[in-house]
Amino acid sequence: MTGVLTHGGPAAASSGITPLLEVHDVTAGYGHSPVLRGVSLTVPTGSIVAVVGANGAGKTTLLRTLSGLVPLSGGTVRLDGVDLAGVAVEHRVRHGLSHVPEGHGVVAELTVDENLRLGGLWRRDRKDLKAAVAEMYELFEPLARRRSSPGHQLSGGERQMLAVARALVARPRLLLLDEPSLGLAPRIVADIMELLRTLCDERGLTILLVEQNVRSALLVADHGVVLDLGEVVASRAAASLLDDDALRHAYLGF
């Protein structure tokens, strides 16, 4: 049996070649005004891709489009070759897609344990679910100590941790993360970014990360995509984006 967290297998091990996610010429938005205009990007298996850009660039809309919360009005989204257009939001998790929404989406009224179990209920295999939840308690010790606390009693860092753990209970192949650093102290942001790198390196998890916190995101990512007003204006190795002063001044504001 391979790692409990991914269904990766050999494909995940030989990272960086096969694209897990292919976004091609995607147009999407609310009502009649598209927020995304012809966005294309690929996320190679076993890598971290960071999408950065100013407020209103369409970063959150991009993730919401990938998980199906915002309808696609043009273009295609393929996950491991499967066109997601015909897959309902609540079925995408079965295809290996986990989306941690902006503001983490921890259900405040449910306990830590209930939140975690919720992440794997779709599989209906109770034993497997138990094992996955137990593994999360090992991986995230602070959560184990608070397993029966309701979500609203957790600190911001704990909530983000819970949101990531809950997504991992589903054993995703692709993790979509919307602003995990939002509202967190720099020290905790660093911890979370380090965690993402570990998950990617040691467990072969593929991550698409959207961040306002450009520096932290590009430091942890392999590849960076700059989004501006719904269009991709740059897409290259994360390190080279950080070094590009002109680009940083123009689109990222620092």
């Binding site: 405040a108 449910l110 109770r126």
Partner: protein
């Protein structure tokens, strides 16, 4: 003292029915953020169904089964056929549509069964058992209390101990997040209506024969009291519905017994106003309001 024991007993029996009906309101409120003003009329339809089935077969229990199944189906039809299409732009929309449903259902019952009172059979005697000269509960009161208790415990276990219950709660609290986690939220919403409508039907069937008398408007007062219960307890809180139901049942019973039946509805309204003044969200409302 003798009278007090009797009043408390019958008050608790009646209160347990209010509690069950209020639970039905809470179930829909939690699932859909709709106060189902049609709950009473829907329960009346199910009660008439029980009446018709019992009349045709001679069996109270078949009638009860028909009320539960009919109530559940009615919940399905109302949600999938009507409420699903009501725009959520204003909470008033669903209220108006529900009131329309009330009119249609009550008129339909009048056409089908006439507007007069009908007599319903009871499975057990409604004469109080006398112990040492003191009239205690009637066998029917005991039946009502047992059914209500079993139902409350069953619902409690369903919601807190089963994966389905976890799905139902998550869908109610955070529909979007739940969908992202693979929960079929739309199906959970329908299930909430089905469950609620069946529970409401059962409550009506328990209380209509002895307290209200079967007619198309039989459940109007039940709705009013149960709505009060739900507000007093907190629309979000199943525990509040149960405690509120027992409190309102006791209050009605005691005020009727000691001060006269004309004062009983006023006492309930005084309680409602007092709770709204002191704790507008209800006694058992969540401390932290939900914004998303």
């Amino acid at each position: 003292m003798d009278q007090l024991i009797f009043l408390v007993g019958s008050g608790l029996a009646r209160g347990s029915v209010f509690a069950v009906f209020a639970l039905a309101l809470v179930l829909i409120w939690r699932a859909a953020r709709i106060v189902n003003f049609a709950q009473g009329a829907m329960a009346a339809v199910a009660t008439y169904l029980a009446f018709a089935v019992t009349a045709a077969t001679g069996s109270y229990w078949l009638g009860l089964a028909a009320a539960l199944v009919g109530g559940a189906l009615l919940g399905l039809v109302v949600e999938r056929g009507v409420m699903r299409f009501v725009a959520h732009t204003s909470p008033l929309n669903s209220v108006i549509v529900a009131l329309g449903l009330v009119t249609i259902m009550q008129a339909g019952l009048g056409i089908a069964f006439g507007n007069g009172y009908r007599t319903m059979n009871l499975p057990f005697s409604s004469t109080p058992i006398v112990v040492g000269g003191v009239p205690l509960l009637s066998p029917y009161n005991i039946f009502v209390l047992v059914v209500a208790a079993v139902l409350m415990i069953g619902l409690g276990l369903l919601f807190t101990r089963t994966p389905l219950g976890l799905r139902l709660r998550a869908s109610a609290f955070a529909p979007e997040t739940s969908r992202l986690l693979g929960v079929p939220v739309s199906r959970m919403l329908t299930l909430g209506w089905v469950l609620s409508s069946a529970v409401g039907a059962l409550a009506a069937l328990l209380v209509v024969p002895t307290e209200l008398g079967l007619n198309p408007h039989a459940t109007d007062m039940l709705f009013v009291y149960a709505f009060t219960v739900a507000i007093v307890g907190g629309l979000d809180s199943p525990v509040g519905a149960v405690v509120g139901g027992l409190v309102v049942g006791l209050l009605l019973s005691l005020v009727t017994g000691y001060l006269g039946s004309t004062l009983a509805p006023i006492a309930v309204l005084v309680l409602l106003v007092a709770v709204l003044l002191v704790r507008p969200g209800g006694i058992f409302s969540a401390k932290e309001a939900r914004h998303a």
